[in-house]
C-alpha cells in the first residue's frame, strides 16, 4: 500500500467489495471524497492516511449533523475521531442505504450510549435530546454560550427534557429495569418506521 494516490487495483477493490456493502465503483467514489478532504496529506502519506476529526468533519454530508463528532468517536479505533481511509470506508459502508437494519440499529445504539455502559439510561437520553436541540440553538447567529442557553430554555425546559427521557424509557424498556438495554433497543427500533430511512448518509 501507499504508492501514491492512484486508485486501488481490481483485486483490492474486489476485496473491499467483499468486506463492505459497497460496490467497486462506490469504493472508488468514497476514496475520491476522502482524498478531497485533505489532498496534502494524501500526497504525503499515500492513499491510506489518517485524517483528524476536524478534517473529516469538513464533509458536507456530516456538517449539519449534531451527532457528527459522536459518530466519528464511536467509529474510530482510538475513540478520538481520527480515522484512516479504511475506517472511513467501513463507517460509510455501515451508514449507507445498503447496510442492513440491524447494523444501523447497532450503530445508533453506540451513538446514543454516551457513557458507554452498554445501556441507554435516562442521562443518555437527555443528552440525545440536547443534541437534537443543538442545531436550532447554534443555527441562530448567536454564538455566546449564555445566549445559547437562553434560546435553549425558550425552546425547551430541563423539566420537559427529563419528562421526555422518561417517556422514551417507558416506551422502549421491555424488561422494566429502568434503562434501555441493547436488546430493548434493537427490538424497539426495528418496529419504528422512519429509522431506516433517516439513519443513512450517502456520499
Amino acid at each position: 500500500m501507499g504508492q501514491g494516490t492512484s486508485a486501488y487495483d481490481q483485486s483490492e477493490l474486489a476485496e473491499f467489495q467483499d468486506l463492505t456493502y459497497f460496490t467497486k465503483r462506490e469504493v472508488l467514489h468514497v476514496h475520491k471524497r476522502f482524498a478531497e478532504l485533505a489532498p496534502e496529506k494524501v500526497k504525503q502519506h499515500g492513499r491510506n492516511p489518517t485524517l483528524t476529526k476536524e478534517e473529516i468533519l469538513l464533509l458536507p454530508e456530516l456538517a449539519a449533523n449534531p451527532f457528527k463528532e459522536r459518530i466519528l468517536e464511536v467509529f474510530s479505533d482510538a475513540g478520538d475521531g481520527n480515522m484512516n481511509f479504511e475506517q472511513f470506508l467501513d463507517m460509510m459502508s455501515q451508514l449507507s442505504s445498503k447496510a442492513p437494519l440491524e447494523t444501523k440499529i447497532d450503530f445508533a445504539f453506540k451513538i446514543y450510549d454516551f457513557n458507554e455502559d452498554g445501556q441507554i439510561c435516562e442521562n443518555d437520553l437527555q443528552k440525545v435530546i440536547l443534541f437534537l436541540v443543538q442545531p436550532a440553538v447554534t443555527g441562530a447567529t448567536l454564538t455566546s454560550d449564555e445566549r445559547n442557553q437562553v434560546i435553549k430554555n425558550s425552546l425547551i425546559t430541563d423539566d420537559q427534557i427529563k419528562k421526555l427521557a422518561q417517556k422514551v424509557i417507558n416506551e422502549m424498556d421491555m424488561d422494566d429495569d429502568g434503562s434501555i438495554s441493547y436488546l430493548d433497543f434493537k427490538h424497539g427500533m426495528s418496529k419504528l418506521n422512519g429509522f431506516e430511512e433517516s439513519f443513512k448518509v450517502t456520499l
Binding site: D106, Q119, I129, L155, K167, G178, G188, N193, F195, E197
Partner: protein
C-alpha cells in the same frame, strides 16, 4: 414530514432485502457443508487432541458479521473444527460461571468444563421472540469438571453457538470501543486479515464430495450473477443524485414525493414500451402495408366530434385552429395513432401455399396489452404492499411517539445548515406538542363543549360534502351541455360552412372581420369543449385548500387526525371527480339510453362516428388541462410567491414561504396517474404523454423545491401512512379498471373505426381465442362473465381478508401476553439473584427493591455460589444485561 418514509424506495429496499436473503441462503448451504466437515474432522481430531490445528476463527468475518461473500461460509467450515480449547476473543461476552455455567467471559480464558447444553444458535428463545436470548440449561451441576475431551468439544460448539447466538442469523454488529452488549465487532483491517486467511483455506473445498462441490459452485455462480444484475440496476438508477440533493436540502420526507415520481416513471415506461412495441409499431406498419379493402379506414369515420373547425385560407385562423385542436385533442389529432380509432382491425398474416396463417392477431394483442397495463401497475403496487407487510409482519405497530421523535428524530440525510436548524425546531415543536397532547388526554371536556364540537364537525362535514356534490353537479351539467351543443353545432354548422365563402372577393377588412369572428367562435368552442376539464382541474386545486381551511375550525385534538381527515377528504374528492368524469363518459357513450344513442335515434345520424376516440379525446383534454393548471399553480403558489416575499417587505410580513405539503402532492400525483390509467386503453400513446409529463413534473418540482420551498413544518408520525399511499393508488387503479372493464364487456365497438370494428363486443377477440381452445377454459370464461360469479369472488376475498385480520388480532393479543411475561420473568430473575445473595451474605432479602435497583454484587462470587446452591436443574435466561456479566 416523515410521512410515508421509505415507501417507494423500492430499489434500495429490495436491495438489502435480497442481499439478506442471499446471505441466509448461503449460510444454509454452508451449514450443510459444516455438518459434513465436522463429522469428518471429529475423527481426525481425536488423534490430535490438544493441538489446535488452526488459529481459532471466531465465527465471523465480513462487514460486521454480515458477509456478502463466501467468507462466512468458509468460516463456518472452519469453526466447526473440534478443538479442545476455546479461546474466546478478548472482552468477548461469554460469561463463565465456574463449575459449569457459561454466560460470558471477560478474558482470553479457555473453557474446559461443563455439561452445558444450550439450544442451537437458531433457537432464540421462542417464547418471547427476542433474538439473541440464548437459553442455557444447567443440567447436572454436580458432575462438575469433565475430563472427557469429546465432551469438551461439544461444550465448545455450544459455547460457540451461544456466543454466536443471534449472530449467524441476525448477523448483528457488535461494538468495539463501547462495551457492546452482545459481543465484539471487527474492524475492516481485521476482517481483511481473516478473509485472506480464509482464502488460503479455500483448498478445503476440494475435500467436499463431487456433487456437493458442484452444488456449491452452482449456487455461488447464481449468487454472483444475481449480485451483478442487481448492481447493474443500482447503477442504472436514475435521478439518484437529484434525490440525494433534495434529501439533503429538504429532508427525507420530501424525497419520498420524488421517489413516488420515480416509481410512477417506472410503471409508465414499462407501459410505454408495451404500447410502442406491441401496438403502435405493428399498427403503423399494418396501416401502410396491410390495408385490406374491406377494413380500410375512412378518415371521416375517425372524427368523434364532428368538428366544425374552420379550414379557411387565413393563416391566423389556421394556426389558432391547429393549436386549439392540439390542446383539445380533436380535429386533426383524431386521425392519428394517438387514439384507438386509428388502429387497423386486420391481422398480420402470412400466406404459405393456399392457407393463410395469422401471425399477429392485432385486435387480440390490443386487448391483451390494454389489460397488461393494469396488471403491471397492480404488480408494482402489490409489491410495495407486500414489502410493507413483511416489515410489520401482521403485528400492529404500536405508536411509540416519543421514541420515534427522539431516537429517529434526526434525519441523517440532511446536509443543509438551514434545514438542520428547521428540522431541530420542528422536532422540538413536535415533542412539546406530544407532551401537551398527553396532558390533554386526561383533560375532560365538558359535555356542552363536546356537543358543540360534534355539531360543528357534522356541519363542516356537511359543507364539505355539499361542496363536493355541487361541483360534481356543475360539472355534470357542463358535460351534458357540451355534448348537446356539439350535437346542435353538427346540424347548424354544416349549413353555413364558412370555408365555402369566397375569400378572394372580399376586402382585407372583411377578411379581418371574418377571422376575428372565427377566433371568437373558436374561443367559445374552446370553452364549451374544455369547460368540464377546467372545472375538474380547478376543483382539484381549490378543494384541498378549502378542506385544510375547514380542518382548522374543527378543533381536532391531534394535528395528525386533522391532516389525515384533510387527506381523506381530498382523496375522496379526487376520486369522485375522476369517477364522475368517467361516469359521464360512460353515460354519453353507453350503447342503450346514452346521450349519443338518444341523439342518434332522434336524428337518425351518428353524433360521433367513433365513440372510442371521443373518450380518448376527453381524457387527453383532461390530462393537458390538468398539466396546465399544475404549472400555473406551481408558478403562482411557489415561484411568484417566493419572488414577492424576497423582494417586497410588506409581502414578507404577511405571507409565509410556501411549504412542501407532501400528502397533498402525492395525492395529486395519484390523480394524474388515474387519468393516465383511464386513458391508456383508448389512446395507447398516452403513456408517452405520461412519461414526458412525469419527467417534466420531476424537474419543475425539483427546481422549485430547491429554490422556493421550505421543508415541511410538522413531523407527522403516521406509521401507517405509507400503506395509506399504497391503498390510495390501489383504490384508484381498481376504480379505473372497473370503468375500462365495463367498456370492454358492455360496449359495442364503432362500426367503422378501431381494431374492434365489426365485432359485437370489444372483448370478442379474447372470447374467440378461448373458445377456439375449447373445453374447460371456455367454461370458466363463460361463467366469469356472469355478475354473480364476480360478486361471489369479491365476497370470498373479503372473507379471507376478514379471517387474516382476526388472525392478526389474536396474534397481537399473544404478543401482548408474551411481553408481559418477559417483564415477569425479569422480576423472577431479579428475585432469584436477590435471594441467592441473601443466602450468601446471610442478610434477609430486602423487600421493595425493584428491578434495576438490585445491588450489583460480584458476579463471580455470585455464580460460584449459584452453582453450589443450585443442585437441581434450572433454567436461566440470558439477557444481554451487562449487570449480569462478569
Amino acid at each position: 414530514m416523515d410521512f410515508v418514509k421509505g415507501l417507494f424506495d423500492s430499489d434500495k429496499e429490495s436491495d438489502s432485502g435480497s442481499a439478506k436473503k442471499n446471505r441466509q441462503k448461503m449460510n444454509k448451504n454452508f451449514d450443510k457443508a459444516d455438518k459434513y466437515n465436522s463429522k469428518k474432522k471429529a475423527k481426525k481430531d481425536e488423534d490430535v487432541t490438544g493441538v489446535p490445528r488452526r488459529p481459532n476463527r471466531s465465527n465471523k468475518v465480513g462487514p460486521g458479521a454480515d458477509v456478502p461473500d463466501q467468507s462466512v461460509a468458509m468460516n463456518n467450515l472452519d469453526s466447526s473444527e473440534d478443538m479442545p480449547e476455546i479461546p474466546m476473543r478478548p472482552k468477548s461476552r461469554a460469561v463463565i460461571l465456574p463449575s459449569g455455567l457459561i454466560i460470558g467471559s471477560e478474558d482470553d480464558s479457555s473453557v474446559h468444563t461443563s455439561t452445558l447444553s444450550s439450544h442451537s444458535s437458531d433457537s432464540f428463545n421462542p417464547r418471547n421472540g427476542l433474538p439473541g436470548l440464548a437459553r442455557i440449561e444447567v443440567e447436572d451441576v454436580d458432575n462438575g469438571l469433565v475430563e472427557d475431551d469429546k465432551k469438551s468439544s461439544t461444550v465448545k460448539r455450544q459455547v460457540r453457538t451461544l456466543d454466536g447466538a443471534g449472530r449467524r442469523k441476525s448477523s448483528a454488529h457488535f461494538g468495539r470501543s463501547v462495551s457492546a452488549p452482545a459481543g465484539e465487532k471487527l474492524s475492516l483491517a481485521e476482517r481483511r486479515t481473516l478473509r485472506r486467511a480464509e482464502r488460503v483455506g479455500v483448498v478445503e473445498k476440494k475435500q467436499l464430495p463431487f456433487f456437493t462441490r458442484i452444488a456449491y459452485e452452482f449456487t455461488m455462480g447464481i449468487q454472483k450473477t444475481t449480485r451483478k444484475i442487481q448492481e447493474g440496476f443500482r447503477n442504472a438508477q436514475i435521478w439518484g443524485p437529484s434525490i440525494k440533493e433534495l434529501e439533503g436540502n429538504l429532508g427525507s420526507g420530501v424525497s419520498t414525493y420524488f421517489r413516488v415520481l420515480r416509481w410512477l416513471l417506472k410503471i409508465n415506461v414499462i407501459s410505454m414500451v408495451m404500447a410502442l412495441g406491441l401496438i403502435a409499431t405493428p399498427g403503423i406498419w399494418m396501416n401502410e402495408h396491410h390495408d385490406l379493402p374491406d377494413t380500410s379506414l375512412n378518415k371521416d369515420d375517425l372524427n368523434c366530434t364532428n368538428p366544425n373547425f374552420v379550414e379557411g385560407n387565413d393563416t391566423a385562423a389556421d394556426v389558432a385552429n391547429y393549436i386549439l385542436q392540439f390542446l383539445t385533442g380533436q380535429g386533426w389529432m383524431e386521425g392519428t395513432a394517438l387514439y384507438l380509432g386509428w388502429y387497423p382491425a386486420s391481422n398480420i398474416t402470412r400466406t404459405s401455399g393456399d392457407t393463410e396463417k395469422t401471425t399477429y392477431n392485432f385486435p387480440l394483442a390490443y386487448l391483451l396489452v390494454g389489460l397488461a397495463y393494469f396488471l403491471v401497475a397492480l404488480m408494482f403496487i402489490l409489491n410495495n404492499i407486500a414489502r410493507l407487510f413483511k416489515k410489520s409482519a401482521a403485528e400492529k405497530i404500536e405508536t411509540k411517539t416519543y421514541s420515534e421523535l427522539i431516537l429517529t428524530g434526526w434525519d441523517y440525510t440532511i446536509q443543509n445548515k438551514k434545514t438542520a436548524q428547521l428540522r431541530s425546531t420542528t422536532v422540538i415543536k413536535s415533542l412539546k406538542e406530544a407532551l401537551s397532547n398527553d396532558a390533554q388526554k386526561f383533560v375532560k371536556i365538558s359535555f356542552k363543549k363536546e356537543i358543540g364540537i360534534i355539531v360543528l364537525r357534522v356541519c363542516t362535514n356537511c359543507v364539505a360534502v355539499a361542496a363536493m356534490i355541487g361541483t360534481v353537479f356543475l360539472y355534470y351539467r357542463e358535460v351534458v351541455r357540451g355534448t348537446s351543443e356539439d350535437a346542435a353545432n353538427s346540424t347548424n354548422a354544416c349549413g353555413e360552412k364558412l370555408e365555402t365563402a369566397d375569400f378572394s372577393n372580399l376586402t382585407d377588412i372583411e377578411i379581418n372581420e371574418i377571422s376575428a369572428e372565427l377566433i371568437t367562435r373558436e374561443l367559445a368552442r374552446f370553452w364549451s369543449s374544455y369547460s368540464a376539464s377546467i372545472i375538474v382541474s380547478l376543483s382539484n386545486i381549490l378543494f384541498p385548500i378549502f378542506f385544510e381551511f375547514l380542518g382548522q375550525y374543527e378543533f381536532y385534538r391531534f394535528q395528525s387526525t386533522r391532516i389525515a381527515i384533510t387527506m381523506v377528504r381530498s382523496f375522496v374528492m379526487k376520486l369522485f371527480s375522476v369517477c364522475v368524469f368517467l361516469y359521464v363518459l360512460y353515460q354519453a357513450t353507453k350503447p342503450s339510453g346514452g346521450i349519443m344513442e338518444t341523439w342518434q335515434r332522434d336524428n337518425n345520424t351518428l353524433l360521433y362516428n367513433c365513440w372510442e376516440n371521443y373518450i380518448g379525446a376527453q381524457l387527453y383534454q383532461l390530462c393537458i388541462i390538468d398539466f396546465i393548471v399544475f404549472c400555473t399553480s406551481l408558478f403562482f403558489s411557489e415561484v411568484l410567491r417566493n419572488i414577492l416575499i424576497n423582494n417586497i417587505k410588506w409581502f414578507r410580513s404577511k405571507v409565509e414561504q410556501p411549504e412542501f405539503n407532501i400528502p397533498k402532492e402525492i395525492l395529486d400525483l395519484c390523480y394524474k396517474q388515474m387519468i393516465f390509467w383511464s386513458a391508456i386503453f383508448f389512446s395507447p400513446l398516452m403513456c408517452c404523454v405520461a412519461v414526458i409529463e412525469v419527467i417534466v413534473i420531476f424537474y419543475l418540482r425539483k427546481a422549485s423545491a430547491l429554490r422556493n420551498v421550505r421543508p415541511p413544518q410538522k413531523v407527522v408520525l403516521t406509521s401507517q401512512s405509507s400503506s395509506m399511499v399504497n391503498a390510495v393508488f390501489l383504490v384508484s387503479l381498481i376504480f379505473v379498471f372497473v370503468f375500462v372493464g365495463l367498456v370492454i364487456f358492455q360496449f359495442k365497438p364503432s362500426a367503422h373505426c378501431g381494431p374492434f370494428r365489426g365485432k359485437t363486443k370489444i372483448h370478442e377477440p379474447l372470447g374467440l381465442l378461448i373458445e377456439n381452445s375449447g373445453g374447460f377454459k371456455t367454461y370458466i370464461y363463460d361463467n366469469l362473465k356472469m355478475t354473480a360469479v364476480i360478486v361471489s369472488i369479491v365476497i370470498i376475498v373479503l372473507l379471507i381478508i376478514y379471517y387474516f385480520k382476526s388472525l392478526a388480532a389474536s396474534r397481537n393479543l399473544t404478543i401482548k401476553l408474551l411481553r408481559h411475561q418477559i417483564k415477569v420473568e425479569h422480576v423472577d430473575k431479579q428475585f432469584l439473584i436477590e435471594h441467592i445473595k441473601s443466602q450468601i451474605t446471610g442478610k434477609p432479602v430486602q423487600e421493595g427493591k425493584k428491578d434495576g435497583t438490585v445491588s450489583r454484587m460480584s458476579h463471580s462470587q455470585l455464580s460460584g455460589e449459584l452453582a453450589n446452591k443450585t443442585k437441581k436443574n434450572m433454567t436461566i435466561h440470558r439477557y444481554a444485561n451487562p449487570s449480569l456479566k462478569i
